[in-house]
Symmetry: C2
Subunit: 202 residues, 2 copies
Protein backbone atom coordinates (compact mmCIF):
# COMPACT_ATOMS: atom_id res chain seq x y z
CA UNK A 1 0.00 0.00 0.00
CA UNK A 2 1.53 3.27 -1.11
CA UNK A 3 1.38 6.29 1.17
CA UNK A 4 -1.31 8.92 0.56
CA UNK A 5 -0.76 11.67 -1.96
CA UNK A 6 -0.27 15.00 -0.17
CA UNK A 7 -2.68 17.72 -1.26
CA UNK A 8 -1.54 21.09 0.12
CA UNK A 9 -3.99 23.97 0.01
CA UNK A 10 -5.10 27.27 1.54
CA UNK A 11 -8.82 27.94 1.87
CA UNK A 12 -8.05 31.47 0.66
CA UNK A 13 -7.11 30.16 -2.78
CA UNK A 14 -9.63 29.70 -5.61
CA UNK A 15 -7.19 27.42 -7.44
CA UNK A 16 -6.95 25.33 -4.27
CA UNK A 17 -10.74 25.03 -4.25
CA UNK A 18 -10.82 24.01 -7.91
CA UNK A 19 -8.20 21.32 -7.33
CA UNK A 20 -10.05 20.12 -4.23
CA UNK A 21 -12.98 19.18 -6.46
CA UNK A 22 -10.85 16.73 -8.45
CA UNK A 23 -7.96 15.46 -6.38
CA UNK A 24 -9.65 12.55 -4.58
CA UNK A 25 -11.23 11.10 -7.73
CA UNK A 26 -7.96 11.52 -9.62
CA UNK A 27 -6.03 9.69 -6.92
CA UNK A 28 -8.67 6.98 -6.61
CA UNK A 29 -8.34 6.17 -10.33
CA UNK A 30 -4.81 5.08 -9.46
CA UNK A 31 -5.67 3.30 -6.24
CA UNK A 32 -4.36 6.13 -4.12
CA UNK A 33 -5.74 8.09 -1.20
CA UNK A 34 -5.18 11.75 -0.43
CA UNK A 35 -4.04 13.50 2.74
CA UNK A 36 -5.38 17.07 2.71
CA UNK A 37 -2.82 19.35 4.35
CA UNK A 38 -3.27 23.04 5.12
CA UNK A 39 -0.71 25.73 4.43
CA UNK A 40 -0.82 29.52 4.48
CA UNK A 41 0.12 31.45 1.35
CA UNK A 42 0.68 34.44 3.62
CA UNK A 43 3.63 32.56 5.09
CA UNK A 44 4.97 30.56 2.14
CA UNK A 45 4.56 33.07 -0.68
CA UNK A 46 4.66 36.40 1.14
CA UNK A 47 7.18 35.70 3.91
CA UNK A 48 9.38 32.80 2.79
CA UNK A 49 9.44 33.51 -0.95
CA UNK A 50 9.18 37.28 -0.51
CA UNK A 51 6.62 37.67 -3.30
CA UNK A 52 3.51 39.84 -3.46
CA UNK A 53 0.09 38.16 -3.68
CA UNK A 54 -0.58 37.06 -7.27
CA UNK A 55 -3.67 39.30 -7.67
CA UNK A 56 -1.48 42.31 -6.84
CA UNK A 57 1.38 41.33 -9.17
CA UNK A 58 1.40 43.36 -12.41
CA UNK A 59 0.56 41.28 -15.52
CA UNK A 60 0.37 38.04 -13.52
CA UNK A 61 -2.72 39.18 -11.63
CA UNK A 62 -4.61 39.76 -14.86
CA UNK A 63 -3.38 36.45 -16.26
CA UNK A 64 -4.47 34.54 -13.15
CA UNK A 65 -7.92 36.13 -13.30
CA UNK A 66 -8.25 35.04 -16.90
CA UNK A 67 -7.02 31.54 -16.07
CA UNK A 68 -9.74 31.19 -13.46
CA UNK A 69 -12.46 32.35 -15.86
CA UNK A 70 -11.22 29.94 -18.52
CA UNK A 71 -11.04 27.05 -16.08
CA UNK A 72 -14.55 27.75 -14.79
CA UNK A 73 -15.96 27.81 -18.34
CA UNK A 74 -14.17 24.62 -19.32
CA UNK A 75 -15.20 22.70 -16.22
CA UNK A 76 -18.68 24.24 -16.02
CA UNK A 77 -18.16 25.54 -12.49
CA UNK A 78 -19.77 28.66 -11.05
CA UNK A 79 -18.21 30.50 -8.13
CA UNK A 80 -20.33 32.19 -5.51
CA UNK A 81 -17.59 34.67 -4.77
CA UNK A 82 -15.54 37.02 -6.97
CA UNK A 83 -11.99 35.62 -6.92
CA UNK A 84 -10.78 39.21 -7.35
CA UNK A 85 -12.48 40.37 -4.14
CA UNK A 86 -10.34 41.01 -1.05
CA UNK A 87 -9.46 37.62 0.44
CA UNK A 88 -10.85 36.35 3.70
CA UNK A 89 -8.68 35.81 6.75
CA UNK A 90 -7.71 32.14 6.31
CA UNK A 91 -6.61 31.55 9.91
CA UNK A 92 -9.89 30.46 11.57
CA UNK A 93 -10.68 27.84 8.92
CA UNK A 94 -7.06 26.75 8.56
CA UNK A 95 -6.62 26.32 12.29
CA UNK A 96 -9.88 24.44 12.73
CA UNK A 97 -9.03 22.13 9.85
CA UNK A 98 -5.51 21.50 11.18
CA UNK A 99 -7.10 20.56 14.51
CA UNK A 100 -9.75 18.30 12.95
CA UNK A 101 -7.14 16.55 10.80
CA UNK A 102 -5.42 15.38 13.98
CA UNK A 103 -8.35 14.94 16.35
CA UNK A 104 -11.12 13.87 13.96
CA UNK A 105 -9.29 12.33 11.00
CA UNK A 106 -12.34 10.46 9.74
CA UNK A 107 -14.40 13.67 9.52
CA UNK A 108 -11.77 16.26 8.68
CA UNK A 109 -11.82 15.99 4.90
CA UNK A 110 -15.58 16.36 4.68
CA UNK A 111 -15.25 19.44 6.86
CA UNK A 112 -12.58 20.90 4.56
CA UNK A 113 -14.73 20.21 1.52
CA UNK A 114 -17.67 21.89 3.24
CA UNK A 115 -15.56 24.96 4.09
CA UNK A 116 -14.28 25.21 0.51
CA UNK A 117 -17.81 24.82 -0.86
CA UNK A 118 -19.33 27.34 1.53
CA UNK A 119 -16.66 29.91 0.77
CA UNK A 120 -16.15 29.50 -2.99
CA UNK A 121 -19.42 28.04 -4.27
CA UNK A 122 -21.76 29.81 -1.86
CA UNK A 123 -19.76 32.92 -1.04
CA UNK A 124 -20.10 32.51 2.73
CA UNK A 125 -17.63 34.26 5.06
CA UNK A 126 -15.55 31.41 6.43
CA UNK A 127 -13.55 33.84 8.56
CA UNK A 128 -16.71 34.41 10.59
CA UNK A 129 -16.65 32.03 13.56
CA UNK A 130 -20.41 31.47 13.66
CA UNK A 131 -20.64 30.75 9.93
CA UNK A 132 -17.58 28.49 10.08
CA UNK A 133 -19.05 26.61 13.05
CA UNK A 134 -22.37 26.07 11.27
CA UNK A 135 -20.80 24.82 8.06
CA UNK A 136 -18.46 22.39 9.81
CA UNK A 137 -21.32 21.08 11.97
CA UNK A 138 -23.43 20.55 8.85
CA UNK A 139 -20.58 18.52 7.35
CA UNK A 140 -20.98 15.95 10.12
CA UNK A 141 -18.73 17.08 12.95
CA UNK A 142 -20.65 17.10 16.28
CA UNK A 143 -21.22 20.57 17.73
CA UNK A 144 -19.22 19.87 20.88
CA UNK A 145 -16.25 18.73 18.79
CA UNK A 146 -16.38 21.83 16.59
CA UNK A 147 -16.51 24.00 19.68
CA UNK A 148 -13.59 22.14 21.24
CA UNK A 149 -11.55 22.71 18.09
CA UNK A 150 -12.47 26.38 17.87
CA UNK A 151 -11.50 26.91 21.51
CA UNK A 152 -8.31 24.85 21.61
CA UNK A 153 -5.14 26.99 21.38
CA UNK A 154 -3.38 23.89 20.06
CA UNK A 155 -5.14 24.51 16.71
CA UNK A 156 -2.88 27.45 15.90
CA UNK A 157 0.21 25.42 16.75
CA UNK A 158 -1.00 22.53 14.60
CA UNK A 159 -1.50 24.86 11.62
CA UNK A 160 1.94 26.41 12.15
CA UNK A 161 3.44 22.92 12.20
CA UNK A 162 1.71 22.10 8.93
CA UNK A 163 3.02 25.27 7.31
CA UNK A 164 6.52 24.40 8.52
CA UNK A 165 6.10 20.88 7.11
CA UNK A 166 4.98 22.33 3.77
CA UNK A 167 8.08 24.52 3.56
CA UNK A 168 10.32 21.62 4.56
CA UNK A 169 8.74 19.51 1.80
CA UNK A 170 9.15 22.32 -0.75
CA UNK A 171 5.41 22.99 -1.02
CA UNK A 172 4.53 26.66 -1.31
CA UNK A 173 1.40 27.15 -3.44
CA UNK A 174 -2.24 26.17 -3.51
CA UNK A 175 -2.81 23.62 -4.86
CA UNK A 176 0.52 21.87 -4.39
CA UNK A 177 0.48 18.08 -4.68
CA UNK A 178 3.30 15.78 -3.66
CA UNK A 179 3.07 12.17 -4.82
CA UNK A 180 5.84 9.83 -3.71
CA UNK A 181 8.14 12.82 -3.35
CA UNK A 182 7.31 14.29 -6.78
CA UNK A 183 5.92 17.86 -6.58
CA UNK A 184 3.14 19.27 -8.76
CA UNK A 185 2.19 22.93 -8.40
CA UNK A 186 -0.99 24.50 -9.81
CA UNK A 187 -4.35 23.10 -10.85
CA UNK A 188 -3.04 23.23 -14.45
CA UNK A 189 -0.70 20.40 -13.57
CA UNK A 190 -3.28 17.86 -12.36
CA UNK A 191 -3.16 16.26 -15.81
CA UNK A 192 0.62 15.99 -15.48
CA UNK A 193 0.18 14.47 -12.01
CA UNK A 194 -2.18 11.92 -13.50
CA UNK A 195 0.25 11.07 -16.30
CA UNK A 196 2.94 10.68 -13.66
CA UNK A 197 0.77 8.35 -11.57
CA UNK A 198 0.21 6.30 -14.73
CA UNK A 199 3.91 6.58 -15.57
CA UNK A 200 3.02 7.34 -19.18
CA UNK A 201 6.20 8.25 -21.01
CA UNK A 202 8.40 8.76 -17.93
CA UNK B 1 -6.94 32.54 -42.74
CA UNK B 2 -6.47 33.12 -39.03
CA UNK B 3 -3.61 35.30 -37.79
CA UNK B 4 -0.43 33.62 -36.55
CA UNK B 5 -0.19 32.40 -32.98
CA UNK B 6 2.20 34.61 -31.00
CA UNK B 7 5.05 32.74 -29.33
CA UNK B 8 6.86 35.03 -26.88
CA UNK B 9 10.22 33.92 -25.56
CA UNK B 10 13.59 34.97 -24.15
CA UNK B 11 16.70 33.09 -25.31
CA UNK B 12 17.78 33.15 -21.66
CA UNK B 13 14.95 30.83 -20.69
CA UNK B 14 15.27 27.04 -20.75
CA UNK B 15 11.49 26.71 -20.67
CA UNK B 16 11.34 29.01 -23.71
CA UNK B 17 13.77 26.70 -25.48
CA UNK B 18 11.73 23.63 -24.61
CA UNK B 19 8.55 25.23 -25.93
CA UNK B 20 10.35 26.37 -29.09
CA UNK B 21 10.91 22.71 -29.97
CA UNK B 22 7.14 22.06 -30.08
CA UNK B 23 5.25 25.23 -30.88
CA UNK B 24 5.39 25.15 -34.68
CA UNK B 25 4.33 21.51 -35.00
CA UNK B 26 1.57 22.06 -32.45
CA UNK B 27 0.24 25.05 -34.36
CA UNK B 28 0.54 23.28 -37.72
CA UNK B 29 -1.67 20.44 -36.45
CA UNK B 30 -4.40 23.05 -36.26
CA UNK B 31 -3.59 24.79 -39.51
CA UNK B 32 -1.92 27.68 -37.77
CA UNK B 33 1.39 29.46 -38.19
CA UNK B 34 3.54 30.96 -35.43
CA UNK B 35 5.08 34.40 -35.07
CA UNK B 36 8.14 34.12 -32.81
CA UNK B 37 8.41 37.30 -30.74
CA UNK B 38 11.26 38.21 -28.40
CA UNK B 39 10.83 39.63 -24.92
CA UNK B 40 13.20 40.21 -22.02
CA UNK B 41 12.44 38.62 -18.65
CA UNK B 42 14.78 41.19 -17.14
CA UNK B 43 12.20 43.83 -18.11
CA UNK B 44 8.88 42.00 -17.74
CA UNK B 45 9.53 39.92 -14.63
CA UNK B 46 12.21 41.93 -12.82
CA UNK B 47 11.17 45.50 -13.63
CA UNK B 48 7.46 45.50 -14.49
CA UNK B 49 6.34 42.71 -12.16
CA UNK B 50 8.95 43.48 -9.52
CA UNK B 51 9.81 39.82 -8.96
CA UNK B 52 13.19 38.19 -8.43
CA UNK B 53 14.45 35.70 -11.04
CA UNK B 54 12.79 32.31 -10.50
CA UNK B 55 16.09 30.49 -9.81
CA UNK B 56 16.74 32.92 -6.94
CA UNK B 57 13.22 32.67 -5.48
CA UNK B 58 13.12 30.45 -2.37
CA UNK B 59 11.18 27.20 -2.86
CA UNK B 60 10.17 28.13 -6.42
CA UNK B 61 13.76 27.95 -7.68
CA UNK B 62 14.10 24.36 -6.47
CA UNK B 63 10.69 23.48 -7.90
CA UNK B 64 11.56 24.96 -11.31
CA UNK B 65 14.83 23.03 -11.40
CA UNK B 66 12.92 19.85 -10.68
CA UNK B 67 10.32 20.67 -13.33
CA UNK B 68 13.03 21.03 -15.94
CA UNK B 69 14.63 17.71 -15.02
CA UNK B 70 11.25 15.98 -15.15
CA UNK B 71 10.38 17.54 -18.50
CA UNK B 72 13.74 16.56 -19.98
CA UNK B 73 13.29 12.95 -18.83
CA UNK B 74 9.76 12.76 -20.15
CA UNK B 75 10.57 14.26 -23.53
CA UNK B 76 13.99 12.55 -23.85
CA UNK B 77 15.83 15.85 -24.26
CA UNK B 78 19.41 16.50 -23.16
CA UNK B 79 20.64 20.01 -22.44
CA UNK B 80 24.19 21.07 -23.20
CA UNK B 81 24.07 23.68 -20.47
CA UNK B 82 23.16 23.54 -16.78
CA UNK B 83 19.91 25.49 -16.46
CA UNK B 84 21.03 26.44 -12.95
CA UNK B 85 24.22 28.12 -14.21
CA UNK B 86 24.40 31.94 -14.29
CA UNK B 87 22.36 33.11 -17.28
CA UNK B 88 23.89 34.64 -20.37
CA UNK B 89 23.31 38.25 -21.34
CA UNK B 90 20.24 37.91 -23.60
CA UNK B 91 20.62 41.30 -25.32
CA UNK B 92 22.90 40.47 -28.30
CA UNK B 93 20.79 37.49 -29.43
CA UNK B 94 17.49 39.22 -28.64
CA UNK B 95 18.45 42.36 -30.55
CA UNK B 96 19.73 40.45 -33.56
CA UNK B 97 16.60 38.33 -33.67
CA UNK B 98 14.34 41.39 -33.36
CA UNK B 99 16.21 42.90 -36.31
CA UNK B 100 16.05 39.74 -38.43
CA UNK B 101 12.35 39.34 -37.72
CA UNK B 102 11.74 42.68 -39.43
CA UNK B 103 14.45 42.71 -42.08
CA UNK B 104 14.73 39.00 -42.92
CA UNK B 105 11.36 37.53 -42.02
CA UNK B 106 11.82 34.43 -44.16
CA UNK B 107 15.06 33.52 -42.36
CA UNK B 108 14.46 34.86 -38.86
CA UNK B 109 12.81 31.82 -37.31
CA UNK B 110 15.54 29.43 -38.46
CA UNK B 111 18.04 31.83 -36.93
CA UNK B 112 16.15 31.86 -33.62
CA UNK B 113 15.97 28.06 -33.61
CA UNK B 114 19.71 27.92 -34.28
CA UNK B 115 20.44 30.33 -31.43
CA UNK B 116 18.25 28.33 -29.02
CA UNK B 117 19.89 25.07 -30.13
CA UNK B 118 23.41 26.44 -29.89
CA UNK B 119 22.82 27.83 -26.42
CA UNK B 120 20.70 25.13 -24.79
CA UNK B 121 21.56 21.94 -26.67
CA UNK B 122 25.22 22.69 -27.35
CA UNK B 123 26.05 25.03 -24.48
CA UNK B 124 27.55 27.73 -26.71
CA UNK B 125 27.84 31.30 -25.41
CA UNK B 126 25.26 33.17 -27.43
CA UNK B 127 26.21 36.43 -25.72
CA UNK B 128 29.55 36.20 -27.52
CA UNK B 129 29.29 38.21 -30.76
CA UNK B 130 31.57 35.94 -32.78
CA UNK B 131 29.79 32.77 -31.69
CA UNK B 132 26.38 34.36 -32.28
CA UNK B 133 27.48 35.51 -35.74
CA UNK B 134 28.70 32.06 -36.68
CA UNK B 135 25.57 30.29 -35.51
CA UNK B 136 23.22 32.67 -37.30
CA UNK B 137 25.26 32.44 -40.50
CA UNK B 138 25.15 28.65 -40.31
CA UNK B 139 21.35 28.87 -40.03
CA UNK B 140 21.23 30.40 -43.51
CA UNK B 141 21.50 34.14 -43.04
CA UNK B 142 24.19 35.62 -45.35
CA UNK B 143 27.25 36.96 -43.55
CA UNK B 144 26.74 40.52 -44.73
CA UNK B 145 23.16 40.49 -43.47
CA UNK B 146 24.21 39.16 -40.05
CA UNK B 147 26.87 41.84 -39.84
CA UNK B 148 24.37 44.51 -40.83
CA UNK B 149 22.01 43.36 -38.08
CA UNK B 150 24.77 43.20 -35.47
CA UNK B 151 25.91 46.72 -36.37
CA UNK B 152 22.52 48.40 -36.73
CA UNK B 153 21.53 50.45 -33.66
CA UNK B 154 17.91 49.99 -34.76
CA UNK B 155 18.14 46.40 -33.43
CA UNK B 156 18.02 47.59 -29.82
CA UNK B 157 15.02 49.80 -30.57
CA UNK B 158 13.23 46.93 -32.30
CA UNK B 159 13.77 44.67 -29.28
CA UNK B 160 12.56 47.38 -26.91
CA UNK B 161 9.46 47.79 -29.07
CA UNK B 162 8.81 44.05 -28.89
CA UNK B 163 9.16 44.06 -25.11
CA UNK B 164 6.72 46.97 -24.93
CA UNK B 165 4.33 45.07 -27.20
CA UNK B 166 4.60 42.02 -24.95
CA UNK B 167 3.72 44.05 -21.89
CA UNK B 168 0.83 45.71 -23.72
CA UNK B 169 -0.47 42.28 -24.71
CA UNK B 170 -0.10 40.95 -21.15
CA UNK B 171 2.76 38.60 -22.03
CA UNK B 172 5.45 38.42 -19.36
CA UNK B 173 7.03 34.96 -19.25
CA UNK B 174 8.92 32.56 -21.45
CA UNK B 175 7.24 30.77 -23.07
CA UNK B 176 4.07 32.84 -23.31
CA UNK B 177 1.71 32.01 -26.16
CA UNK B 178 -1.20 34.15 -27.29
CA UNK B 179 -3.67 32.54 -29.69
CA UNK B 180 -6.53 34.72 -30.91
CA UNK B 181 -6.16 36.83 -27.79
CA UNK B 182 -6.11 33.88 -25.38
CA UNK B 183 -2.94 33.75 -23.24
CA UNK B 184 -1.06 30.59 -22.24
CA UNK B 185 1.94 30.86 -19.93
CA UNK B 186 4.50 28.10 -19.35
CA UNK B 187 5.53 25.06 -21.33
CA UNK B 188 3.26 23.04 -19.01
CA UNK B 189 0.31 24.69 -20.69
CA UNK B 190 1.04 23.70 -24.28
CA UNK B 191 -1.41 20.82 -23.87
CA UNK B 192 -4.03 23.31 -22.71
CA UNK B 193 -3.24 25.53 -25.69
CA UNK B 194 -3.75 22.55 -27.95
CA UNK B 195 -7.07 21.68 -26.31
CA UNK B 196 -8.08 25.30 -26.75
CA UNK B 197 -7.15 25.27 -30.45
CA UNK B 198 -9.27 22.15 -30.81
CA UNK B 199 -11.97 23.76 -28.68
CA UNK B 200 -12.40 20.52 -26.76
CA UNK B 201 -14.80 21.13 -23.92
CA UNK B 202 -14.75 24.94 -24.08
Amino acid sequence: MKPPIEFWFDFISPFGYLASLRIDALAARHGRTVDWRPLLLGVTVLKVMGLPPVPKTPLKGAYAARQIERYLRRHAITLGRDPGAPPMNPLPAGRLYAWLRVHQPARAKAAAQAIFHAHWAQGLPMDDAAALRGVVMASGVPAEVVDAGLADPEAAALLRAEVDAAIAAGAFGSPFVIADGEPFFRVDNLELLEAWLERVGW
